[in-house]
Point group: C2
Chain length 233, copies 2
């Protein structure tokens, strides 16, 4: 018997894995970044074959790792985790630096970075595990890194279906006791629209019910439209 | 440039990785256990080629993973992490269960377990990465799992030289302001003998200086003799 609850006890970090190909940059959220050997240092990174970052990594053999800090806001995670680089330039309006190899690493809400060169590719069904040599690494800020558990527990973050660690949750979303104006949850990224809070980023004041949001309002985290939201209380 | 501090920001859990070969059981501490794909579920485990568990895994293709809880005491970690199965039966005096395949998982201070079958072996210099199918998994206790950071920060645990994530620490060990009787630290596992505390397990009462410990006294964590200890204050 396989009990999914056992999997929630495995520990991971949360990273932006980036690459570059023919001058185009892209990056995505991943949690499977880990050191394999210490002398010389080898790091493994697992990426879903469907992702644009996967395509860039295979072409350039270059990977940038940006280790997210605990303070990383959901919109940064949403930008890299729930949008596709085929639709937007994920690095616009994000501060980053380009390392010697040309690979970018994010400087906003990150604690350290790695510049990697792929030495070996391992095909594992839906994913490729890239075994990499470390070209350079650096500390950005000496604060706590984000763990996957912190992301799920504290940030109430959702997991994308293409993630290594996706486990289908057949339970109803957590609903909180509330007033007359119901909350709505984004089915893509898990963001909850709370009428008592509004959405100041989009100029929506507290007290605005979901029904009264403008038709062109989109999820502040992942950018999907109102019809992707479900009432949760 | 490679800055070692960057590596301390990668997140891991702490696990007992076990195997069985020709009826003999063994297990060791590891931090590189991670899910790679979700459908079907694949788990990767990285193990140093020098270790006895590595030999057993290669022979039987079977791996047990016991996810340690935050409360796991240093002597359990020391038993599995700093002693060799070539010298002792690590499973004696430890409660465990044998799964259908014959692989044992530890029930003391663990939160969940996995029974894995190796499908692919990846040679990565000093280590082998085993890519595994999940035969079974279960929750043992729904408390916090031990993270690698918790182990280092709270438990002040040391890292073995054969670990994936070993980074040589050239700084002096943390010394604490103390009284006349100096503390001594084990150079193998990092255990600190504090004269104010003694070592009740070995019948050493509080107030006993390191010099007055019997000659046959050994480290309560990893079992090495007194000459492997260094004064730290």
């Amino acid at each position: 018997m396989i009990d999914n609850k056992a999997f929630y006890k495995l520990s991971y970090g949360l990273y932006i894995v980036s690459s570059v190909s023919e001058g185009r940059k892209n990056g995505q959220i991943a949690n499977t970044v880990f050191q394999i050997t210490s002398d010389p240092i080898t790091i493994a990174v697992s990426i879903n074959k469907q992702n644009l970052t996967h395509e860039y990594i295979r072409k350039s053999k270059l990977i940038g790792i940006s280790v997210l800090s605990e303070e990383a806001p959901m919109d940064l995670i949403g930008r890299f985790g729930f949008k596709s680089g085929r639709d937007i330039d994920k690095f616009s309006n994000v501060s980053f630096k380009t390392l010697d190899s040309g690979v970018p690493v994010v400087l906003d809400n990150t604690v350290s970075y790695f510049e990697l060169h792929v030495e070996k590719e391992i095909d594992v069904l839906t994913h490729t595990v890239f075994i990499c040599k470390v070209l350079s690494s650096g500390l950005i800020k000496d604060t706590n890194q984000m763990t996957y558990q912190y992301y799920q527990d504290i940030k109430r973050g959702k997991i994308q279906k293409t993630a290594s660690t996706y486990v289908e949750n057949k339970e109803k979303p957590v609903s909180e006791i509330s007033n007359d104006k119901p909350k709505y949850q984004c089915s893509v990224c898990g963001y909850i629209y709370d009428p008592d809070v509004g959405d100041s980023k989009s100029g929506v004041s507290a007290g605005t019910s979901f029904e009264n949001l403008p038709d062109n309002w989109t999820c502040p985290i992942c950018g999907v439209s109102k019809d992707k939201f479900n009432q949760i209380n």
